[in-house]
Symmetry: C2
Subunit: 302 residues, 2 copies
Amino acid sequence: MGSVAFDSVKTPFGEVEEVLGGSATYFSTAASYFTDVSLVAVVGEDFPEAHLDFLKGRGINLEGLERSPGRTFRWKGEYSYQLNEAKTLKTELNVFQSFRPKLPPSYCEASLVFLANIDPELQSDVLKQVKKPKLVACDTMNFWIEGKLDALIKTLASVDILIINDGEARELAGEVNLVKAAKKIIGFGPKILVVKQGEYGALMFNGETIFSAPAYPIENVFDPTGAGDSFAGGFMGYLSKCETLNDAAIRQAVIYGSTMASFNVEAFSLDRMRSLKQEEIESRYHAFKALTAFEPVTNRAS
Amino acid sequence: MGSVAFDSVKTPFGEVEEVLGGSATYFSTAASYFTDVSLVAVVGEDFPEAHLDFLKGRGINLEGLERSPGRTFRWKGEYSYQLNEAKTLKTELNVFQSFRPKLPPSYCEASLVFLANIDPELQSDVLKQVKKPKLVACDTMNFWIEGKLDALIKTLASVDILIINDGEARELAGEVNLVKAAKKIIGFGPKILVVKQGEYGALMFNGETIFSAPAYPIENVFDPTGAGDSFAGGFMGYLSKCETLNDAAIRQAVIYGSTMASFNVEAFSLDRMRSLKQEEIESRYHAFKALTAFEPVTNRAS
């Protein structure tokens, strides 16, 4: 569950107007490479068939995609050369403003649930509608940490995995040191915390163990929009295929998440996903292995 | 070769006045856990015996430590809660201003040379005095990139490994993207580029291959001063014990460098090195393995 949107994005490498975007779109598309995905979101009367066809073409169940009178959610943002953080120029909530998701009956049987970054009260409402989720992950942002902390803390109590960026983790915990911040956040409910660090990769805190994953070094980063949701999609998509959700599986899922994020930034909108092949995903997963591998000491002279 | 200094440092966790510091001090002390080190630097008449005794106690050869009339080099800096970058409050070059290193005869036979961050003309002068170095690494900073680029480019042509931080790499190459920046810098001469990224770890570029190492997540970072030179000391110290300087050895060296840096930040000055034991180094090296390990996909259902 999240947003389906029109994005207008400017980066140092180009500019696009009203292209397909939104957290639910990026998440579902990335996850669709691993598993069956059912999307929950809302669009307006202006949303074109071609975008629906793309999502259907990825096998995504759109029964939970509501179409409401009015205009689709729109976001306009800009990135500087650093590409680390978007500057939001304009947000038009439109049909998203009055969205109160009601899950189709088949959705209530879902075993894995991802709640993208939206109002934590809506996250709780949706989660209540799922009968027996095996694994629940969510995202959030500074806007909710600052404006709806009580509701967010309530949502976190029912969540297994929180996936946020490092600035958000520090703000949520009120603690600059990430190791201390992670302990505090795990105290709020989630057993696992994944801290996204953009071009620096991700840290995963699972009880007392920590896993550090790099970002894949990309020579041509075009547009970071959707990287976090693509990460979450690869992460949850992979976990849905795992028999046991142990630490090894979660680590592999972090790498699959990083893999999907690394492809996503190679083009505007979801354009890289329009041509991405399963073999490319497996090949980049192995490239992550080569990127991080080091042997125990073997050739030391004395 | 580098500086031996008095540092006055303020971090959110405390404050110290005129404690032992300097790039050559941090480098030599870290390297001394792996190999025999010969230091080249200058101190003034105010430099206390106790500091010399500490360095001698670590087995460091001080024949190349000149004592000149005047005061020792002093640096004063401050860190905010982010701990990423020092704000320099005061630099007093003192005896360092007129330092023209002349290597003792035994030093000229050195096989590994590390040129810490000083004037690139001095780096070249020192390097010329070493007869047949097997491996030369150096550091530099924005001050030299901006003020003595020609001399720096000349030094780089004679260097095997450049160890700098990400901001410096971007500035030196005039290129924001690190993969592209690395290619450009390798074109200047060094076969290998190590990019230090502070709390995010390090990237090592060796021809076409890239190695990504995390920083060790530390719950109590007291003072980042000297982390980069401790990294270089662990890195070069480990390499000096390797029979072959292949990619595997360089990767292991990056982890030993990260290990030494991670210890260094746990206390002010070189205080953590006063108690650090060999077993702790080996144990943290293995902790890096646990921190980054992920298996190939094994437990996927279909």
